[in-house]
Symmetry: C2
Subunit: 351 residues, 2 copies
């Protein structure tokens, strides 16, 4: 990839689909998880901040920046639970990777699909450190846009092949079954959360309501499970009864953000939690006993998007799945920005 | 402009140039200033925050979001004073306008050129309230990428036709003279700041050094001038000697941001300042006497970018200067994001 200075490579939705297919979803998950893990290992090199959120009645628009001093990234992402009613995505996203030294963007990419992949890859990465040793069956509660990605990430990283599916809308579960039909899963569609949890030592909750919901009640959760709590991800939006949290060990991405946005918002601000990167580098234990309940309180963090953009950029080095965007004004003389208008005017007379 | 849901109109640099030429630079400035003024008039409807800056040795990368509850915008902008040495722009930018109700982006635009226009339009808008009544001559100190835009904005809004130019690099001044040669100005290239200021009741400082510089010393500034201080716009980067500030009335965009980034950073945090919007709505006086020194301590604020994107979007309603960007994943069923990959795979076998 060798481009002129004014040109920024752009990965459209169509190109992202082709890029993923050219790699294969499971390999993409594995490699993306490796990129995320590599970045978590150098956690202290990153500039970290809670995301900048603009809340409105119908949802939220967020900017999620980070930098490792060499590269800078940000993601634009919205969350609008009611969008589905008008046929829109609940979550859409795009992101930019830039060079810190010059401030010039070097990649613009769709991230609606990429976010689904990185969220699932992060969940599976966390579970690889936290799940019971023999975990091979996952309860998947909430079978919307994220569900299949979670299933495939857990298959790719943990070898999970048994899925128990539940959604308050059974057609969502049937959609999952259809989509995953030929991908090596043994799937059971369940009629209740309780039925869904039977025999599952992995529990992924990924519902979309923007409210304080109780998808999992305390009595339903037995010992020795790992809960991958993905759906509670903004203030006022939770899925787990607080009593579950109180008898679990809680792992999360970045405490200042998750304590406001995640399941943790239901706990006192000094409740003990462990940031995932500490487990990854070996500073903190992951699962320590078979009877322990572990929770990954996932809300999504900027470094995962940084890793995802970095991975996509690497893939583009020898794959043609981008177009060239004329995004940056690049006059011959940098002081002569106005001259660009004059010269364009000479070339193309005003209409 | 009627587009499919997944498509976001994109204004490239080339299209921005054509759009500006199709309107004419001065009319563009006038109309853009009207959009900015209209948004300043409803200041209290906006969500305001200081920009989110990532500082590095060579410069800064910033995100500047705002929202009026109907639309949301953000701009990505860098400032890297050393970029010019490698033939790059000191400042490059792009921005997005989105619909708050759905979170969907509705416009992606280059903003390197648009920022130059909106900065100049804001300066001239401020000067229209603050300059001495008879101001017809402007000293333009710093003749880099922003200079011609400032000149044309002051011509469009205030009728300024006499320019006195100074830059430590005389070739920059000569570039300005060339670029503005047929646009109705009477121009004098000066050999010093002192000479440049002679007879000018408007003074625009717009140098690019990322340091505490003293472009204007106290003894050089007489009574009855309006200073449009544009170049001091981040922590550690100023242009005016603090003694000038102390005998002037200071106007600025958004106090919490300018007190950190602008000339004001040299003053105690409680030094009296007036936000420009208050003058625009008539809540605060602008210039009150002929002998007063007024300063517009410009650093650039998110609402100006919001106005600029809103103006560009309006122009695109009946002008073809955009392309369609496949930025948003839009499955037929919003819950079926993964199905997009499957269907793309069925249509295009993996390579």
């Amino acid at each position: 990839m060798s481009l002129k200075r004014n040109v920024v490579p752009f990965v459209s939705v169509d190109h992202m689909l082709k890029l993923i297919l050219s790699i294969g979803v499971e390999r993409f998950m594995l490699e993306l998880a490796e990129f995320i893990e590599a970045d978590l290992r150098r956690w202290n090199e990153f500039e970290k901040s809670v995301r900048l959120a603009s809340h409105s009645h119908g949802g939220v628009i967020e900017l999620m920046p980070t930098s490792d001093g060499e590269s800078y990234s940000f993601k634009y992402v919205n969350g609008h639970p009611d969008n589905a009613r008008s046929g829109r995505q609940t979550v859409t996203a795009f992101g930019v990777l830039a060079e810190v030294g010059s401030g010039y963007p070097v990649l613009l990419s769709e991230m609606t699909i990429l976010t689904a992949l990185r969220t699932a890859a992060t969940s599976a990465l966390a579970a690889s450190r936290l799940a019971p040793a023999d975990a091979d069956c996952m309860a998947l509660i909430g079978n919307g846009a994220q569900a299949e990605f979670q299933a495939l990430a857990f298959k790719a990283l943990l070898g999970v092949r048994r899925l128990r599916l539940f959604d308050i809308d059974r057609s969502a579960s049937l959609k999952c079954v259809r989509n995953l039909a030929h991908l090596g899963f043994d799937m059971t569609v369940c009629g209740s959360v309780g039925e869904c949890l039977e025999g599952a030592s992995l529990v992924t909750t990924i519902t979309a309501d923007k409210r304080r919901a109780t998808v999992l009640t305390d009595n339903l959760v037995g010992e020795g499970v790992h809960i991958n709590a993905v759906g509670g991800d903004c203030p006022g939006k939770t899925e787990l009864h607080p009593d579950i949290l109180k008898r679990s060990d809680i792992f999360l991405e970045y405490a200042p953000q998750t304590r406001v946005e995640g399941e943790c918002q239901q706990l006192p601000p000094d409740h003990p939690v462990t940031e995932l990167w500490r487990v990854v580098v070996g500073d903190a234990p992951g699962r320590t006993s078979a009877r322990q309940i572990t929770i990954f309180d996932s809300v999504g963090f900027a470094i995962e998007d940084f890793s995802a953009l970095r991975y996509v950029r690497r893939l583009l080095q020898d794959r043609p799945f981008y177009e060239e965007l004329d995004l940056l004004a690049d006059p011959d003389d940098p002081r002569d920005l106005f001259g660009m208008i004059l010269r364009a005017g000479a070339a193309v007379p005003p209409v």
